[in-house]
Symmetry: C2
Subunit: 228 residues, 2 copies
DNA sequence: CGGAATCTTGAGGCCCGTCAATAACGGTGG
DNA sequence: CCACCGTTATTGACGGGCCTCAAGATTCCG
């Protein structure tokens, strides 16, 4: 394979992404040849439930939401993929179908590497496998917390935590919610209406300040944390 | 290290456990030397939140429940560890503390291997790392489903699914619930009272039959599956 | 057999989901 | 720049599922 125009992009992707950190230069180059690059506009689907899941998808730039559809048709947000995050681990070995959807929230570029190639790669580059185990471990912790929060605390508490986490990630006084209320709602296991009401309630309690309909400011982080 | 009395036990453990499948004989022997063996009586804690988490814990025989404590003191069941299951992946790399508790539900024996040894092992035995990625992937799928179910369907539906899964795992006409109602409750994100009521309701609808207070029989699996 | 833990059953209330109608927003084209 | 229209957000009224509290029944286990 000669050097093609997209080679540069592929190597960028490899370098950006945590699971490919600490690999030898040779391995990095190997990965770059195995990876394919795709671009999605905001709103486009990267994959859908029912698609054959034969590759690992890594976000090189942008943002995408991953969600499931419950039997009764309700959406459940599973996570937001940021730059460097990946999805598809679930189906890396079982040759199966995606159970969830991934939709670009902004213009997003992703790398994909086939199940087969990735498995081979893990055999020859143990650091990759170790990075992978590490990443999956952190994902598990996060999922366990999400489950626990949803079942043990009130919507107001979950929303407060979500605001704190979101603002912390952006460390700015005034921050913009990256998701529509509908998506925040399914992420927190509730409805858009309830999100609206709770945001009003938090504002009336003087804990947050509403700037525009999706720009907010934390006024009292301590009390936000203490909501049951 | 000469052959000690517990070497036999240690190798058994290694052979029983899925993540150690497909390893070369040499690797299996190496693992056996790195593993320590412990026994816990029913009710004893294998680890607690706050303990230093410096090892991977694998259930060689028995059953244990893993749960978290929410800020408000409520328990959240995370999972049941069966023979061959393991926990500790979360803290395999971050040198940190356990966030959850593991308690033996019956007399249980576990193997433990230190973070450090396990990491070294993954570098030299790539199959192990691959098995690990596989196992973690399945765990993630299961957690995502748990989250989705808890937030999108009714307690009755969740309980129905739980009964179906439990009976399927034991393939017997009449099956015994392995957990106390309190634990089933926190697993399904509800309360013991509600579990009681819903079991009565399912019985009245003719979907299940109650034999004793924790022995049941599935009468109509199809309709159980269809509960919203 | 006895005491403790677990389970059941009832009554009451509240959180939050649902439905519906109005308002605000945001992107598009004239 | 503004008028327009689809999408998204807000607000209200209402009802129901489930949690809470409490008392009584049953089971478990020494």
């Amino acid at each position: 394979m000669g050097k093609l125009a997209h080679d540069h992009t592929a190597e960028d992707c490899v370098e950006l992404v945590p699971i490919f950190k600490n690999l030898s230069q040779t391995d990095i180059e190997t990965v770059a040849t195995l990876v394919t690059h795709h671009h999605y506009k905001s709103g486009e689907y990267i994959f859908s439930a029912g698609d054959t899941a034969d590759s690992l998808t890594i976000v090189a730039h942008g943002q995408a939401k991953v969600f499931q559809m419950a039997a009764n048709g309700k959406e459940q947000m599973l996570r937001i993929l940021q730059t460097g995050d990946f999805d598809g681990e679930a189906t890396l070995f079982a040759n199966s179908e995606h159970g969830s959807f991934a939709q670009a929230l902004m213009d997003t570029s992703v790398c994909q590497i086939s199940q087969k190639d990735f498995q081979t790669l893990m055999q020859t580059a143990p650091e990759l496998a170790v990075n992978m185990v590490n990443a999956l471990g952190r994902r598990i912790v996060q999922l366990e917390q999400q489950t626990t929060e949803v079942t043990t605390s009130s919507v107001e508490s979950r929303l407060a935590n979500y605001l704190l986490e979101t603002s912390a990630g952006l460390n700015e006084e005034v921050f913009t919610l990256p998701l529509k209320k509908k998506d925040i709602a399914t992420y927190l296991g509730t409805t858009p209406e309830t999100i609206s009401r709770k945001l009003t309630s938090l504002t009336e309690q003087g804990l947050i300040q509403k700037i525009t309909n999706n720009k907010f400011k934390i006024l009292d982080a301590d009390r936000l944390m203490m909501i049951d």
